[in-house]
Symmetry: C2
Subunit: 478 residues, 2 copies
C-alpha cells in the first residue's frame, strides 16, 4: 500500500492537522474549488453529484408528505426584511445589499436572500384567505447568501446551497407536528442513508433561529469530537403572520392567524459526511449518495479478454448500482489509491487469473475487507456488500460518538472534560442564558441541544446549582 | 359547456386581447404570481412542476452526452466581468450590483450573474493544463439576473431560471460540433416532448450573443404569429480563452488556446408552451411535462362504489402515468372547467352507469374528442391517447406555422406582408447590418435566423438589391 500511496499526492493525516486533512480531502477528491469571489465556492462535478443524490432522496420524502416545490425571488426589499423585528436583527448584519441596477441607483435597497421566510409570508398574505387554503406546504431548492467573515468549504460560506421548507397551518398543534415531522425526516435521512448518527433535540432560546419560537436540531459528532448542526426545523407560532398581516377565516368564521414552520438542510452536510466517515486515505462515501458506488479496476488489462470481461460486468451491474470501469492507462495501484481518495464504497478487481476461476476480487472502502466473489452471484454480492458498508459506517460512527460522550455532574468535572476530552458533554441545566454564557466562557463549549430523549443525571444545574430544567448536550461546534 | 364556464372565472379570449389572454392563463392556471420585488416572480407549484419535468428531460440528455453538473458562484467581481470586451459591453448595462456586505462597503463591486461565461473561464484557467484535460463539459441549473425595464411573466423577467451549459474543447471543429449538437438537443426536446415545431438556424451578427463568434437558435411561432427564441447555443472561438489566459499544452507540446461554447434554455419556454398550445379555455400541456397527465372526475360520487372505482383506476394508472382523482365536493362541471384551465391532457369521467358497463369516458383536452374506454384496456388506451395528443399538438402547431409563413421577393411585398399578416417572412438578405436595420425601421421586424435549411428565393437582397448571401426568417419577436 505504501508504494501505491506515493502515486497519488498524500493528504495530511487527520491526527497531525485536522483542518488541513479536511481541506486536503475537499480539494483532492475534487469536491469543491475556491473562486475569485471571497467566500464563494465552485462546487465541482463530483461534489455536486453528491448533492444531487442527497437532493433526490430528500425531495422524494418531501413530496410523499405532500410538499410542493416553488421558486421565490432571489431578492428581498429592505422594507420586507424589516417587518419581523427579531428576524431582521438576526440577519441584517450579514446580508449582501444590491444598490444599483445597471447604472441606476435603486429607490430601495434589495438584499440577496439569506433565508426566505419574509418572501414566503409576502406570498402567503395574498394566497391565504380561508381555513380551506391551509395547510400550505412549500419547499424550494436554491442558494442563499450570508456575509460571513471567515469561511470554510461546505461548512461556512458566503453563498451556500440548501433546501428551505416553509409551511403554514390552521393550528399551532399542526404546525408543531410539522416541525417535528420534518426533523424526523432529516434524522432518518442522516441515519439510514448517510450513516451519520444524530441527536435530535431542541435548541435553547439563545441558540434558536432569529424570529422562531422554537428550533429543533439534529447534531452529529465529527471525527475530532466537534458537533455539526446538520439540519434544523423551526416553529414560528403566528409571529410572522401578525407582522405580515396574514389572516384567514376560521371554521367558525372568526379571523385567525395561521401558524408557521420552516426547515432546512444544506450542502454543509457534505462537510459532515467528510468529517464523520473520511480517513487518512481520503473520502469514504455512504453508498446511497456515492456518485460511483462500484469501480471496476481491470488488472493486466492488456491481456486478452480482461477489458471485455470488465465491461461485461459493468453492463450487468449498471442495472443494480452506479458503476464505472476505469480502463485508463494508469496502473492498477494508482487507480486503487485514486478511488479510495474519492471514497468509492466498493472496488472490484478483475484479471486473467480471476477470469479463469470465474470470480473477481471485491474490496470494501471502509475496512479494506477483501473477498472473492463468484461472477455468477455478482449482483447480489455487490448489493449485500453495499448494505454491509452502510451498516458498518453507521455502527463505527455511533460507537465513536458513544465513546466520546461524557456525563458530568459537577462544574469541575465539566471543565476538566471540556478541557481534556474532545466530544460531547451531557449535563443538567437550569434554563438560564447566564449559565449558558458562563459555561461558554469557562469551558469553551456551547449548548448543542436539549435532546428529546432526556435523562435525569442530577437534580440541579451543573453551573449554578439551581433546580435543573433539562439535560443538555454541550460541545464545541463547527 | 357555457354553464360550466361560468363556474370558473373566464379568461379574456385571445382574439380580443392576446397579452391579457396570456397573463390570465398564467395567473388562473396558477403558474406564477407577482412578488414585491419589481420584475421578480414567484413560480408557483404548478409552474415549477412543469419546469422540473422539463429539467429532468433535458438533464438526462445532457448527462447521456457526457456533461456534468456543477455550481458556480452567484456573484461576479466587476474586474472579472470586464475581461472580455464585447461581453461586458453587452451585459454591464443590465446587471444588478452588490455594493455592501452587512454594513461594510465592498472593496470591489460584485454583479449578480447575468450569465456565467466569466466564472467558468476563471475556473477553466485553473483546471486546464494539458490536452488531456479536454474536453470540459459542464452545465448548471440556476437563476440569473438581468435588470430589464419592462417584464412579462416567463418571457422577460429580472430574475429567471435556466440551465447554462459551458464547454471547452481542444479544437475549433469539436467546439462547433458541440454547439450544433446542443442546438439539436433543444430542437429535439421542443419538437418531440413539447410538441413545439422550431426552426433551427444561425443568428446574424447583429443578433448574436455578446462575445460569441456565432449564435445558433431555435425559433418557434406563437399563436399570434410572433417569434419566440426558445433556446440558443453559442460558439466563442478562443476569444474568452485569450482574455482569461487559458492555455493548454497540445499534443505536439505547443501552447494552445481551447475553444469554447455555451448554450441555454430557460423558463421562457413555459411562455412558449402557453402561447403555442393554449386556447380560450386555458392552458394545454404537452403530456411529457404535464404535472397531471390524467385527471379522474367521479360523476355522482355520492353513489355507492363510484369513489372506490375512481380510486381503483387511479391506483392502476399510477403505474403508467401521473394521475389524480379529484374527489372534492365541487360539481363535475366545475372540475371539467378547472382541469381544462390547467391544461391536463386527458380527463376520465366515471359514474354509476359507466361502472355498470365496465367502461369510462375519456376526453382529450386538445380537441375534446370523447370516447368510451373499456376498463379492461384502460392503461393502454390512456397511453395511446397521450401519444395521440402529443402528435396532434405538434401537427396543429406546425400547420399553423406553415399557414402563417410568407415567402416574399420584393421590398414592397415585404412591407405589405409585415404590415398586414402576422407570422414569419422568408426573404433573401445581403448580409449587411444596414439592411437589417432598415427592414426593422420600415417593417418593424427583426431577423430571427438564417435557417440551416436554406432556400434560394431570389438572387438578390430583398432590401438593397445586392447579391444575396442567405435566406432569412424575419418576424416580430417576444
Amino acid at each position: 500500500m505504501a508504494g501505491q500511496k506515493k502515486l497519488v499526492e498524500a493528504i495530511t493525516p487527520m491526527e497531525e492537522d485536522f483542518a488541513r486533512w479536511y481541506t486536503d480531502i475537499v480539494k483532492k477528491a475534487e469536491l469543491m474549488d475556491y473562486s475569485s469571489v471571497r467566500g464563494c465556492m465552485v462546487i465541482e462535478p463530483y461534489g455536486w453529484a453528491i448533492w444531487e443524490n442527497i437532493r433526490d432522496l430528500l425531495d422524494k420524502r418531501f413530496k410523499e408528505l405532500g410538499h410542493q416545490n416553488v421558486a421565490m425571488p432571489l431578492f428581498i426589499p429592505e422594507s420586507l426584511l424589516q417587518k419581523e423585528k427579531d428576524h431582521v436583527e438576526g440577519f441584517a448584519p450579514e446580508v449582501a445589499w444590491v444598490t444599483h441596477g445597471g447604472s441606476e441607483e435603486l429607490p430601495e435597497r434589495l438584499c440577496v436572500r439569506p433565508t426566505s421566510e419574509t418572501l414566503f409570508c409576502d406570498y402567503y398574505a395574498r394566497k391565504i384567505q380561508s381555513w380551506r387554503d391551509l395547510p400550505k406546504l412549500y419547499n424550494q431548492w436554491c442558494s442563499v447568501v450570508r456575509w460571513e467573515k471567515t469561511t470554510r468549504p461546505f461548512l461556512r460560506s458566503v453563498e451556500f446551497h440548501w433546501q428551505e421548507g416553509h409551511t403554514m397551518h390552521e393550528t399551532a398543534e399542526e404546525a408543531k407536528a410539522e416541525t417535528e415531522q420534518m426533523l424526523r425526516v432529516y434524522a432518518e435521512l442522516c441515519e439510514n442513508e448517510l450513516s451519520i448518527p444524530v441527536i435530535k433535540g431542541r435548541k435553547t432560546d439563545k441558540e434558536k433561529f432569529a424570529g422562531a419560537e422554537m428550533t429543533y436540531t439534529i447534531e452529529a459528532m465529527m471525527h475530532d469530537g466537534k458537533a455539526l448542526q446538520s439540519g434544523t426545523s423551526h416553529y414560528f407560532g403566528d409571529g410572522f403572520a401578525r407582522a405580515f398581516d396574514i389572516t384567514f377565516q376560521g371554521r367558525d368564521n372568526s379571523v385567525c392567524y395561521p401558524h408557521q414552520t420552516s426547515w432546512g438542510l444544506s450542502t454543509r452536510i457534505i462537510g459532515g459526511i467528510i468529517m464523520t466517515h473520511g480517513d487518512n486515505d481520503g473520502l469514504v462515501l455512504p453508498p446511497a449518495i456515492a456518485p460511483i458506488q462500484v469501480v471496476i479496476v481491470p488488472v493486466a488489462q492488456h491481456k486478452e479478454g480482461v477489458l471485455e470481461k470488465a465491461r461485461e460486468l459493468e453492463q450487468r451491474l449498471k442495472k443494480v448500482c452506479r458503476v464505472l470501469v476505469d480502463d485508463s492507462d494508469q496502473s492498477p495501484g494508482w487507480k486503487f489509491a485514486q478511488y479510495e481518495m474519492k471514497g468509492v464504497p466498493i472496488r472490484l478487481e478483475i484479471g486473467p487469473k480471476d477470469i479463469e476461476k470465474d470470480q473477481c476480487v471485491l474490496v470494501r472502502r471502509t475496512d479494506r475487507e477483501k473477498s472473492f466473489v463468484s461472477l455468477a452471484d455478482l449482483e447480489q454480492a455487490v448489493l449485500d456488500q453495499l448494505e454491509a458498508v452502510r451498516r458498518g459506517m453507521y455502527d463505527t460512527a455511533l460507537s465513536r460518538r458513544e465513546n466520546m460522550t461524557y456525563t458530568v455532574k459537577t462544574l469541575d468535572e465539566f471543565r476538566e472534560v471540556a478541557d481534556q476530552k474532545p466530544g460531547f458533554i451531557k449535563a443538567m441545566w437550569c434554563g438560564s442564558p447566564e449559565c449558558e454564557e458562563k459555561l461558554k466562557d469557562l469551558a469553551g463549549v456551547s449548548s448543542r441541544c436539549m435532546p428529546f430523549e432526556q435523562e435525569q443525571i442530577t437534580e440541579t444545574c451543573v453551573c449554578c446549582g439551581q433546580k435543573a430544567k433539562a439535560m443538555v448536550y454541550w460541545g464545541k461546534a463547527y
